[in-house]
């Protein structure tokens, strides 16, 4: 037992102690400590009460915690005095007790903030401090994890936005190209980095209102009774073309400016767009006229050096500017008329327009008022001079004819409609309605439905039919109701009758399809579940294999990768356009994203070792990205697989521009962010979050020369250093990659880059290669990291202590399968966690 020491001075206490979940107290200022003799008595009292502390259960707390409390805390927070209403002599050290854990969290916070012990009291040595902080941090993390775990139970997941969209797509076989019923849905919250984890997916009244609205739109799209829609064919030539300036056209409609003179069919615009969903063909004939003219480019705000380009946009009067989308752009030759044919799927109500994509930027009025007077004495500034004075003298895009024909269909009636309303009779009745909606509910609820549970819905629609007499309106109403049911909106699983019960066949099918496709099971998967054989291990393997080869598996790449690697953040902090012209000119942001997506897809499709993510001798590049990486010899504009030489330094994820840019802030690199990224996504050992309410370190970069020096601050505070000694070396080793992922050997002429770092275990690494070698030397670490991430995504819930066995088993098995990624997916599906609830 340590001896207590006395201090002869007044205690100061802070007015406010940072609270975790405990209530706040204010303490009076200037409270004086009792005199010396009272302290003596209190010491005696404390000595007498120590036996209660000596009953601590854990060895560690006896060796670390108790002595520390006795030495530095009990005097003011014990039986004699409870400053700030805090008292620590009665705690046992049992972190599993919530109230104890809260106390220790508070103690830890105070130590981290160097608030306690107060500056004029005895201070623990650096070593003691480090030890107690590490002990408390570790124990609390464990306690938190235990308290949070749902013991393997899936907290019911509702469909997130992406899943809702995909499910509608597959439920009704709809093309969702320009139809998105989820545009006004609120964003989904992420838990553990993934937005398909049930815990964080909240339903609010705002979302429910959106669901009602979306269901209405979907029902309108899905129910298409009646014969194939009549085709339209509109053709216009020359001045007849809608939007053409009359009186000057002659044989062609003339365009004078960029984007402000949309050509199209006023008939279409007036009739509120095309009459039905379907594929349409747009044909046009155009020619560039007088690309270079007497007007200077700067005056016209135009570049006569590049060929004229015509773009086709689709628009919706109803949806407004947000629906505007360019679907094609074509180069228009100077010397001859070009004929263009463009096929596009148009939703009902949409129309299209033609634009001069790179014409003079500004209004025609501006040319007449401000440009013309510079070139013609007869034109006055700044009045709006007559158009005849300008027309014919400058550059113009001539469109000779435009035509639209459609809709064309591969099949009729549409597949999704026919699935639920097959061969509708001439006068469909309530019985037909019942049968159709029952079929739909069975698919929408992803399991067989009973008559009694569907009865209220059927009654509702029957009543509607009786009141209105309109069968198809009643059918749409029924669809809306079913799409608002919690059985559709949530992936609901019935309560397990025992711990670790197997999920049902249908529940397993649902888990599987939302894991691999972010959508509902298809007919084949459904049939396998209905037959009761899905849970058979060999059958399960077969289905996984089949599903991974289906195009719908693109969802796995898009949704998992974007979140695992934080790719969704790419674009949040774009670099300065002035200093990074190539980034925007060559559309590098999209190229970088594409590289990572294709890389991931390749590793998955080819069942390559997951260690390729750590280091690889290939990647996927187009010419622009290769230029950015300074990799020679890549000439193709489309993405292709490219072999990497070691001197390019680009193997594995750490060489990907996407990640290097997403972990920077558009102005400079952020070694701490990169270090945390590496720990989180490659090492699988994310650091604890920073202590609450850290007195903000306001960075002062005026006098500092390198970022390494700036981060020395972390070293000065021992409790900051506890975590930063793990983070900083990794981040600083990546400094050779700048904020857009370009390799640099020096910061500037005077400042070289020091990319060495010392890991917590003492090992020295140098540069990204050092990190890669370190990870390759202990492959199970990355395997465990990726397994855990993929498991969270697959289960849609946090991991618990109970999942540890599954993870250990997978980590032990995977090396035997050459760390194949496809194999990892199979193992996860075969795990107990995936098949039980």
């Amino acid at each position: 037992m340590r001896a207590l020491t006395f201090l002869i001075s007044t205690c100061q206490e802070s007015n406010q102690i940072r609270m975790g979940t405990l209530a706040r107290h204010h303490v009076q200022d200037g409270q004086e400590c009792p005199s010396y003799c009272v302290r003596l008595i209190s010491a005696a009292l404390i000595l007498m009460s120590l036996p209660s502390i000596s009953a601590l259960a854990e060895d560690q707390s006896r060796d670390i915690l108790r002595p520390f409390l006795n030495s530095y805390c009990i005097k003011c927070h014990g039986p004699q005095k409870q400053k700030g209403d805090r008292r620590f002599d009665r705690v046992i050290g049992d972190f599993s007790k919530l109230d104890e854990a809260e106390i220790f969290q508070e103690i830890l916070d105070q130590l981290n903030l160097a608030e306690m012990p107060p500056k004029n009291q005895k201070q623990p040595s650096e070593a003691e401090l480090k030890k107690i902080v590490a002990y408390l941090t570790d124990s609390l993390a464990k306690a938190r994890a235990a308290a949070r775990s749902n013991a393997g139970k899936v907290v019911m997941r509702r469909l997130n936005r992406v899943e809702y969209r995909n499910t509608i797509r597959d439920l009704f076989s709809l093309k969702m190209v320009d139809f998105d019923p989820t545009t006004t849905f609120p964003p989904d919250d992420s838990t553990e980095g993934f937005d398909n984890v049930g815990e964080g997916l909240v339903t609010s009244d705002y979302l429910l209102k959106n669901y009602l609205e979306a269901a209405r739109k979907v029902a309108d799209k899905a129910i298409q009774p009646g014969p194939r829609p009549k085709m339209i064919r509109y053709r216009a030539e020359g001045e007849e073309i809608g939007g053409a300036r009359p009186g000057f056209g002659g044989k062609a409609a003339r365009l004078f400016t960029k984007f402000r003179q949309p050509l199209g069919f006023s008939r279409l615009d007036k009739k509120r767009g095309v009459p039905a969903d379907g594929e349409y063909v747009i044909r046009l004939a155009a020619r560039a006229h007088q690309r270079g003219s007497r007007y200077r480019d700067e005056d016209l705000r135009y570049n006569s050096g590049e060929p004229m380009r015509l773009s086709i946009s689709i628009d919706s009067r109803e949806l407004g500017p947000t629906a505007h989308r360019i679907i094609g752009e074509y180069s228009i030759p100077d010397t001859e008329i070009i004929e263009i044919e463009h096929r596009v799927w148009l939703e009902k109500g949409f129309t299209f327009h033609l634009h001069w994509a790179n014409g003079p930027n500004g209004s025609f009025k501006r040319i007449l008022r401000k440009v013309l007077p510079k070139y013609t004495k007869d034109a006055l500034y700044p009045i709006r001079n007559p158009p005849e004075m300008y027309i014919g003298s400058g550059p113009e895009l001539h469109v000779y004819s435009v035509e639209i024909e459609g809709p064309f269909f591969d099949e009729w009636p549409p597949r999704g409609f026919a699935r639920y309303f097959p061969n509708p009779p001439n006068k469909p009745d309530a019985a037909y309605l019942d049968a159709s909606l029952t079929r739909l509910a069975g698919n929408a609820f992803r399991r067989p439905v009973t008559i009694e549970e569907l009865e209220p819905y059927l009654n509702l629609t029957r009543r509607y039919l009786a009141e209105r007499g309109d069968f198809w309106a009643a059918a749409r109403y029924g669809v809306r109701a079913i799409l608002t049911s919690p059985n559709f909106l949530y992936l609901a699983e019935t309560a397990p009758t025992q711990s670790r019960a197997q999920v049902s066949q249908y529940e397993l099918a649902t888990r599987l399809s939302y894991f691999l496709w972010s959508s509902m099971p298809d007919d084949r998967l459904r049939a396998t579940a209905a037959g009761g054989t899905l849970s058979n291990p060999a059958e399960l393997r077969r289905q996984v294999e089949r599903m991974l080869q289906d195009p719908k598996a693109a969802a796995l790449t898009e949704n998992f990768v974007g979140q695992w690697l934080g790719l969704r953040k790419l674009g949040e902090m774009p670099p300065d356009p002035q200093k990074n012209r190539a980034y925007y000119r060559d559309d590098l942001e999209n190229a970088m994203r594409e590289e990572t997506l294709r890389f991931f897809r390749y590793v998955l499709n080819e069942n390559r070792s997951i260690l390729d993510f750590v280091d690889s001798n290939y990647t996927f590049l187009n010419a622009a990205l290769a230029r950015h990486y300074r990799i020679p010899g890549v000439k193709h504009d489309e993405f292709q697989r490219v072999s990497l030489k070691p001197e390019y330094r680009r193997g594995g994820l750490l060489g990907h521009g996407s990640i290097l840019t997403a972990t920077s802030n558009g102005v400079e690199t952020q070694p701490v962010v990169r270090g945390v990224w590496i720990l989180e996504n490659l090492f699988g050992t994310p650091p604890n979050p920073p202590p609450p309410d850290v007195d903000p370190i306001e960075p002062d970069t005026r006098g500092v020369t390198t970022i390494r020096q700036l981060m020395e601050q972390h070293r000065n505070n021992p409790t900051c250093y506890e975590c930063h000694r793990k983070i900083d070396p990794l981040g600083l080793s990546m400094e050779n990659f700048d904020y857009v992922g370009v390799w640099r050997d020096r910061y500037s002429k005077k400042l070289p880059i020091d990319s060495s770092g010392k890991l917590p275990d003492g090992k020295i690494i140098d540069g990204p290669d050092g990190i890669k070698q370190h990870l390759l030397g202990r492959p199970n670490q990355f395997t465990r990291c990726l397994t855990k991430k993929l498991l969270i995504y697959a289960l849609g819930r946090r991991l618990s202590f109970g999942d540890r066995d599954d993870i250990d088993r997978i980590v032990a098995e995977l090396p035997k399968q050459n760390y194949g990624f496809r194999e990892l997916v199979q193992q996860i599906v075969a795990s107990e966690a995936f098949r039980t609830k």
């Binding site: 204010h26 907290v155 019911m156 049930g198 009244d205 429910l208 009602l212 819905y457 109403y477 903000p696």
Partner: protein, 423 residues
């Protein structure tokens, strides 16, 4: 009234009523009697304001207006600036901008999401119900939180806002809307029954999840009812000059140039009693402001590291905010309400952010400025900082609540109020 009767009642309403009779209206009458102000506007820049230029040096009534705020000199007698107001339990970080009106972070109150209810939404409940829009959330979002702990969406599109406030639907659309509301309400009856049945089959933690759904149903039913009641009330007739702008070329209705348009819409909304609670947020992000002299993204500038060249650019942007805000205050002074009084006198205007120092992501010493609302203005108040603590910002919120006639004496983590300084 049973559910079935309610449907019939809705259908029978027609165009005969002048103003819907709300239960909450009765309560509001009681509240209005004690209120000295009747409206609330909050303007919040996501990244706060650079502290070095926002806070005056001296306190009291004859403080020198800092250079950043010099446009506000004309309004000196109508506003008050505060130094050392904090949101103490927030603890800094990126999320602190979103805590401006509630002083709490999602991660700290996971078990009790209702603690995230923001000041404006509380006001919408208490004083906003008699207007067509209990609250208007404009610009960029993140500061308004519902009782369910959800961030509420905002609208930054002037044309769309104008249509929402001042353009009546034609009678065909109204009939259709009435029909939809009726239909949706009936769907929800059936869905509610279905949800209760599902609840029986679920495990405990899943049942807790489904409770969210059940609560949402009840809330949507209430809102559908409200919407149905307001359909036949005609909207105020306002000319659309406010969004059409000038005639030389296309008016830029994009941010940031549309800021003045949005402020104009806010004045119109207050004047026509379309809403009594309005929030307007200036977005964060790394956009490149199209102002002369600004060459770096906004977010990058807020991480200035005290470099003078970056601070200079930041000042350009923040001056823009101040200029626009000053213009807004002037308009509020010049526009009269139904009683012939300047709008500013009955409108509490709060300018500030949950982000104190954007460079360090601190939630202490927040930039706070209050105007109008019948308060006693004209001074700069600085609170003492004891150790780390200033005065909780929520104390100001309690004063605002009471000024608006709400008899609460606590809000979020308040410890008192600032009545002695403002009333």
């Amino acid at each position: 009234m049973s559910k079935l009767n309610r449907r019939h009642f809705l259908r029978g309403l027609g165009a005969t009523i002048a103003l819907p009779a709300f239960e909450s209206l009765q309560a509001a009458v009681g509240v209005a009697a004690a209120a000295k102000a009747t409206r609330f506007v909050c303007v919040s820049p996501n990244y706060g304001m650079y502290p070095g230029r926002f806070f005056p040096e001296e306190t009291g009534a004859s403080y020198t207006m800092p250079s950043l705020l010099k446009r506000l000199e004309q309004h000196r007698k109508d506003l008050t600036i505060f130094t050392n107001l904090d949101h103490p339990s927030v603890g800094g970080g990126h999320g602190c901008s979103n805590t401006f009106l509630n002083g709490a972070e999602l991660k700290d109150v996971k078990e009790s999401p209702q603690r995230l209810l923001s000041l404006d939404q509380l006001l919408a409940e208490k004083i906003g119900q008699q207007a067509r829009f209990p609250s208007l959330l404009l610009g960029s979002g993140g500061i308004s939180w519902s009782r369910a702990g959800i961030i509420l969406p905002t609208d930054g599109n002037p044309a769309r806002i104008f249509a929402k406030l001042f353009v009546d639907d034609d009678s065909k659309i109204k009939t259709r809307t009435r029909q939809f509301l009726d239909e949706d309400a009936s769907i929800l009856d059936v869905v509610l029954e279905d949800a209760r049945r599902l609840n029986l089959r679920l495990g405990k933690s899943d049942q807790a999840k489904l409770d969210e759904f059940l609560a949402s149903i009840r809330e949507v039913e209430r809102k559908l009812q409200r919407q149905a009641d307001w359909i036949d009330v005609p909207k105020p007739k306002i000319k659309d000059d406010v969004i059409r702008g000038g005639d030389d070329g296309v008016v830029d209705l994009n941010y940031p140039y549309n800021t003045s348009v949005l402020y104009d819409l806010m004045v119109l909304a207050l004047q026509t009693n379309s809403s009594d609670v309005i929030c307007f947020g200036h977005a964060g992000g790394n956009r490149l402001f199209p102002f002369d002299g600004v060459t770096l993204g906004y977010h990058s500038l807020t991480h200035h590291g005290k470099r003078p060249d970056l601070l200079k650019q930041l000042e350009i942007i923040e001056t823009f905010y101040v200029k626009q805000f000053s213009r807004f205050l002037l308009k509020l002074k010049q526009t009269r309400d139904a009683e012939g009084q300047p709008l500013l006198d009955s409108t509490v205007v709060l300018f500030g952010s949950g982000m104190g120092n954007a460079s360090s992501h601190s939630s202490r010493n927040l930039p706070i400025l209050v105007a109008g609302g019948g308060f006693r203005h004209g001074s700069h108040h600085r609170f003492e900082r004891h150790g780390r603590d200033g005065r909780p910002l929520s104390d100001l919120f309690v004063t605002i609540l009471q000024q608006l006639g709400i008899e609460d004496d606590r809000f979020s983590n308040s410890t008192g109020n600032l009545n002695h300084l403002l009333t």
